[in-house]
């Protein structure tokens, strides 16, 4: 196989998922003419450039966000982003932090059911929990109408776990294989242990 053919193959392989391009290509890949080759080359270069830029921008955003949320160890961060699931969890963490911060803007009676404004203490407590290095799984986050912030986990088999963070205490409720339990006072460490147990169950 000539070097040019190898180049063409690698270009085509890299375009395997590019359905926009495949849809627009009028000739089949086995009859590539120089003009089509030139077109492919441009598309690939453009795509690679865009993807590289996107990755760089994303990493910069993550790094900045990471600094904003007061975690200083960027070497650890760089190591973390190598893992796909950890990247996903990191994105969720950033979204959760943004969401919790947005609760500050909720005005009295935001739920039309007498909810008060969130206190700074409960916001900070929820942020600290979400931002904990020990929390491997990011939850869905919701404001309640009783000045608490609720964190929820749910599996496809309907197993469910929720944590409610108040200013002075936390509660935990779970449903596992149809059995439920309501714990009225739990520490953050105990909550994280329960979350890890929840995800270790099959």
């Amino acid at each position: 196989m000539s070097a040019e053919c190898e180049d063409q193959d690698s270009i085509l392989n890299s375009l395997e998922d590019n359905y926009y391009f495949i849809n627009s290509l009028s000739a089949s890949p086995t009859t590539i003419t120089p003009s089509i080759y030139e077109h492919i080359d441009k598309v690939v270069k453009k795509e690679v450039a865009e993807r590289t830029q996107l990755i760089t921008v994303t990493q910069n955003v993550l790094l900045n966000e990471y600094a904003d949320i007061s975690i200083q160890n960027k070497d650890l961060f760089v190591q973390l982003i190598k893992n796909k699931e950890e990247i996903r969890q990191l994105h969720r963490k950033i979204n959760n932090i943004t969401r919790i911060n947005s609760f500050r803007k909720l005005e009295p009676n935001w739920n039309k059911n007498n909810a008060g404004q969130f206190t700074e203490a409960v916001i900070e407590k929820a942020l600290a929990f979400i931002n904990s290095n020990d929390l491997k799984w990011q939850p869905n986050v919701f404001p309640t109408g009783r000045n608490s912030i609720q964190l929820e986990y749910e599996k496809s088999n309907s197993d469910y776990l929720e944590i409610e963070i108040y200013q002075d205490f936390m509660t935990l409720y779970y449903e596992l294989s149809g059995v439920s339990e309501d714990l009225e006072s739990i520490t953050p460490i105990q909550a994280i242990t329960k979350i890890n147990e929840f995800f270790s169950r099959r």
């Binding site: 935001w110 039309k112 059911n113 009783r146 439920s180």
Partner: protein
Amino acid sequence: MSFFPEGNIEDKETLFRAIHPLHWNEEENRPTSALFKVREGGVSVDRDGERDDCIVLNSLLENRDGFGAGKINAGQTREIGTLLKPDPIEANIFHSLILDSQSKICLSNSKAKNLSKNLIILKFPSKM
């Protein structure tokens, strides 16, 4: 039959609850149990008062931009262990409350979760 705002809520009645957009779980496509967690007074719901769902919805969602709404049977709500209390107000004779029990206003986590599971969605809230 005519509706008595102060009358006991019968098991066959339907209760309607407005859903704030922040109380919608996009990932699971359901309301969160946080929807039923309020700090004082109890969980506000509207009785059907022998009205069609559409009429109740129009009235419930007036002045609630972006909110969705769901309904639940009163008997089912009692089976969950909650207390239902008619609470007509000047602006809304259908207004009533879901309380945890005779001695407690705030719903337990399990009761709030069960209510959210049983809520039938009539209108989805707007996306945040």
